[in-house]
Amino acid sequence: MKILTAPHMERCIGCFLCVLAAGNNKDTLSLNNSLIRVIAQGREFVAEIDSGIEAEEGVVASCPRNCLKIEEV
């Protein structure tokens, strides 16, 4: 199974493009149904990822700072 990981969150600028990409389901955009949550902690950001959901390459590509990666488990 391919899961999303966020090995480089120190680069994150909090643009939420990944959240939107992972919440894009055909004709519906949703932040609530996204498999990734980006949470601001002071000036930094942390990611909470639902690893029970298969991730798509498009979510990794959506990040302008290359924070994300897909890993096979």
């Binding site: 643009c15 939107l20 519906t28 955009l29 609530n32 909470e48």
Partner: protein, 282 residues
């Protein structure tokens, strides 16, 4: 056919009541600046501020700001503010906020995921950070000297002070809704095309905290914008630094069409004149 009527949350600080209304007659105004000016004109009696997003917030890159408006002795003033507030407002299904009245004591306001508006006595920072849904919320804090969005992005202090004097100290919104895309294939193509237009920005990519749906993280991201010459960017509400991308009627039309908002070319073309009128008729 989908119609787009702005959904407006009207908040009365004095009476501690809030209600949602839709304004179908404001649809041709597109959103942001034009909708905000008209709402301000209609509700000027005890209105402290109107905050508005536009039809492309939440859908497209670089459409990352909200418009804040208020009336001052010399007339209405408008500012464009970043952070994630515009994105979350859109995903809370709120197009505009009207804030009016003066509360009897300092308040924290929270729009919960259910859409319910909670009025609480002003919370301490620690308690405040526990409300809303982490990663799906955005907030503005109002102070006498400084007002901030998401504790970083500057909210214009002329309007921020007005809201502070109205005894509003903190205002939080949690995302609750989904956005429907009318033509998903077209939308996907246009989205990708716009995302590649970063070189058309008037700023360089950097590593600062960025506004919602802006990949630039530019060194101006935290600043409030106040450029009166833009029309479409201010109605959409896109970042002013992306004006080369969004001051373009055919592109705006394509964007609106792809998400299912059936605007007419005439509505878009008449917008500059409507804004000129609205700015001068208070």
């Amino acid at each position: 056919m989908v119609t787009f009527a702005p959904r407006v949350l009207d908040i009365d600080l004095e009476k501690r009541v809030a209600s949602f209304d839709t304004y179908p007659d404001l649809t041709p105004l597109l959103g942001g600046l034009a909708t905000g000016l008209e709402l301000l004109r209609q509700h000027k009696e005890n209105c402290l501020a109107v905050l508005s997003v536009g039809p492309l917030n939440g859908f497209f890159p670089f459409v990352s700001k909200f418009c804040a408006l208020s009336i001052f002795p010399e007339g209405p003033r408008e500012y464009y503010i970043g952070g994630r507030f515009a994105l979350i407002m859109k995903f809370a299904n709120i197009d505009s906020l009207i804030v009016r009245g003066v509360a009897s004591e300092p308040l924290t306001l929270s729009v919960e995921p259910s859409g319910r508006v909670e009025f609480s006595p002003d919370l301490q920072e620690e308690e405040f950070l526990k409300i809303g849904v982490a990663g799906r919320r955005s907030f503005i804090t109002f102070g006498n000297d400084e007002s901030l969005v998401d504790n970083y992005f500057i909210f214009d202090q002329a309007i921020g002070r007005k809201l502070y004097m109205g005894n509003l100290r903190r205002f939080l919104i949690s995302a609750s809704s989904s956005l429907k895309v009318g033509k998903p294939d077209e939308y996907k193509d246009i989205y990708s095309e716009i995302l590649k237009k970063g070189s058309e920005l008037e700023v360089s990519y950097s590593d600062r905290s960025s506004c919602g749906l802006c990949p630039a993280g530019c060194s101006f991201s935290k600043e409030t914008e106040e450029r009166l010459e833009l029309v479409y960017s201010h109605c959409l509400v896109a970042c002013g630094f992306a004006s080369r991308i969004y001051e373009n009627i055919p592109r705006i039309f394509s964007c609106l069409n792809s998400i299912g908002f059936p605007y007419k070319h005439e509505d878009l073309e008449s917008l500059p004149e409507k804004i000129r009128y609205l700015r001068t008729h208070f």
